[in-house]
């Protein structure tokens, strides 16, 4: 239970919603591949994977931040799973379900990236594109902070 995991959330066919995938591609050679998961939505089937982790970082596009800006913070624990949708959970809900199922809560962080255009297949808006390296840097810092207990540490950038 000492793994660190990075989960990118988003649909690459929905414009800025695919920003997480682009960030992870940028980090392709620097983070061990089995520590990266890309999903279009969070589902409960990810709970067994989270249960094996010490810490997890979610990356997702956000509508409540100005386009291009980003913010990293802790995912709250102990939240009520208020909207039990089968195909879509928030990071906090997924963490809570993991706790309920496995009696183990990984420390979870969320990197939110302000997005604006969701209707351009395979295309990220310019303001996000120019910042991809900065987002990736943020992810790398998070990983560096946590990797010291990870059995497969990050490769030097």
């Amino acid at each position: 239970m000492n793994k660190c995991l990075i989960i990118g959330i988003g649909n690459t066919l929905r414009g800025d919603d695919g920003i997480a995938s682009l960030v992870l591609k940028h980090l392709h050679d620097t983070i061990v591949s089995d520590r990266i998961v890309e999903v279009t939505q969070l589902t409960i089937e990810l709970a067994p994977t989270l249960a094996e982790c010490k810490c997890v970082l979610f990356i997702d596009a956000a509508l409540d931040l100005p386009p291009g800006q980003w913010k990293i913070g802790e995912v709250p624990t102990g939240v009520e799973v208020a909207t039990p949708f089968g195909h879509e959970l928030t990071p906090a809900e997924l963490v809570q379900l993991t706790c309920a199922l496995f009696r183990h809560c990984p420390a979870a962080s969320l990197l939110r990236i302000g997005a604006s255009e969701f209707d351009k297949p395979d295309s990220i808006s310019d303001i996000l594109s120019v910042n991809v390296a900065a987002y990736a840097d943020c992810v790398s810092h998070w990983y560096q902070e946590h990797f010291h207990e990870d059995e497969n540490p990050v490769v030097a950038l």
Binding site: I44, E45, V81, P84, G86, H87, L101, F102
Partner: protein, 473 residues
């Protein structure tokens, strides 16, 4: 100059339902209507497309059981090509279908239905879902997650992704199975089989805790239809159509699935976009039949695998042969999961499963193709017509939810008559209507994405069609 484009009706949106209950002059429920309020249009917008796009195109009609549509579509295209696909391709298609049945049945049983069994049909809706189940019975919830995950992983290993894998194609499949992936699947089979058996052992004792629901959840005489193999055993990929009546007499035996039109016709009603297939020899609506897990167990002679056959004996001894209550679909689903695990074990042990020859190639040789397969929810039929260049001229799809349409309407009427007092709707009533629909596991429930809650509106109407009250979720 501005131009206005109107799209009406809106197509391809996900399903929501409306139910109307109409009272008679005495205040008793006389009619029940299950309205599918959106038009999907798949049969129309495929016209003009090349035939080989059809499997992947039609698979988009469902996010839960796309594999069944891929199989039925590919089988129809095999007929258009007039080819016999390689044995290994057939086996690999079967493997993916077993995986799909496991994951879909797990979704229906554990995520959608088991909260009713654990919390009761009148339980608090706020906790009567998979999250509530995880809190109260994490072991059960975890078993469901592992089963579903297992099925999805097989689909991904074979087809590259979990939903809408474009791997099942006209003439076979696009890629062979690797030895590493075979071992990856086989290594998990013992655990999965144990979960299937454990769930059966957990479910059976609580089965009879709901006598009123067993009695009223679609518990009436009807016909049942499904595919069977040459020995009359459970068959999900190929085989022939068998129909039994409500006392178990086989009334259609060994009909080639491509001859489905000899026994199935379709009716329409003005109040819903869903068609009403019926058993042609008995006419409409008397020819009501059902498909799906319980129907499949009702039509087969045996399952054909040891553990599933043992469960089938118990199922028949307890539920009757045929089992008439739609409630018994839940038990049948668990038996089918076990059957699929046993079949996966058997098929993966074959040396030929790793053969690299997995696709036959040809140009269109026939102007028509029919593909039939068993989806988790029941038999699906794809019927395609092409021109001599292989361009689609038309298509007809009869899907499992459609086959069950008459029975679902009758089931809602039965539940309403048992649980509606004539003037008022209540939450328990709403949940039981949901639950009886859910017992059929229609595409409606999966496409609406809510675990434990369907977006349903129920209207209670007087005999003059005046609205008495509505319940909306």
């Amino acid at each position: 100059m501005t131009r206005t484009i109107t799209i009406d009706p809106i197509t391809r949106i996900e399903g929501h339902a409306r139910i109307s209950l109409q009272l008679n002059e005495s205040g008793m429920v006389e009619h029940a209507y299950f309205h599918t309020t959106q038009y999907r249009g798949f049969e129309k917008f495929c016209e003009g497309r090349p035939y080989y796009e059809m499997p992947a195109l039609m698979a988009r009609s469902c996010g839960i059981c796309p594999v069944a549509h891929l199989i039925a579509g590919a089988k129809a295209c095999d007929e258009i090509l007039a080819v016999k696909i390689p044995y290994t391709a057939m086996v690999l298609r079967r493997l993916m279908n077993y995986a799909q049945i496991i994951q879909s049945h797990a979704l229906c049983f554990f995520y959608l239905s088991s909260p009713d069994f654990i919390f009761g049909f009148d339980g608090d809706p706020a906790t009567r879902n998979i999250a509530g189940l995880a809190a109260k019975n994490p072991e059960l919830a975890l078993d469901g997650i592992r089963l579903r995950q297992f099925g999805q992983q097989i689909i991904e290993l074979l087809g590259g992704k979990r939903i809408h894998p474009a791997w099942i194609v006209a003439g076979g499949v696009s890629e062979p199975l690797t030895a590493a992936h075979r071992e990856q699947i086989r290594s998990k089979l013992p655990e999965i089989k144990e979960i299937a058996l454990r769930t059966l052992a957990t479910f059976k004792p609580i089965l009879n805790s709901f006598p009123a629901e067993i009695e009223t959840f679609g518990n009436f005489p009807s016909l049942f239809m499904g595919l069977v193999d040459d020995k009359g055993q459970l068959e999900h990929y190929d085989g022939k159509l068998r129909v039994v009546d409500s006392i178990g007499n086989v009334i259609t035996h060994g009909l080639a699935s491509t001859q489905y039109a000899e026994i199935i016709a379709e009716a329409v009603e003005p109040w819903t976009f869903m068609k009403f297939p019926f058993y042609k020899p008995m006419g409409y609506p008397a020819g009501m039949y059902r498909v799906g897990p319980a129907a499949r167990l009702n039509v087969v002679t045996r399952c054909g695998t040891p553990l599933a056959d043992a469960e089938l004996d118990e199922f028949r001894a307890t539920c009757g042969a045929p089992a008439l209550s739609a409630y018994h679909n839940h038990w049948a689903r668990l038996i089918e999961i076990l059957f699929c695990v046993e079949r996966l074990e058997r098929k993966l042990a074959e040396d030929q499963v790793l053969d690299k020859h997995v696709r036959a190639g040809a140009a269109p040789n026939s102007l028509e193709g029919i593909g039939v397969a068993e989806a988790p929810r029941g038999t699906i039929i794809h019927h395609y017509f092409v021109d001599d260049q292989g361009v689609m001229k038309g298509a007809n799809m009869i899907i499992a939810t459609g086959h069950n349409n008459l029975a679902m309407n009758r089931s809602i009427l039965q539940v309403a008559r048992s649980f509606v007092d004539g003037e008022r709707l209540n939450e328990g009533m709403l949940n039981r209507v949901e639950a009886v629909i859910r017992a059929y596991d229609p595409c409606l429930s999966c496409s609406t994405h809510a675990a434990g809650k369907m977006p349903i509106r129920i209207d209670l109407l007087t005999h003059r069609r005046e609205l008495l009250c509505s319940l909306v979720r």
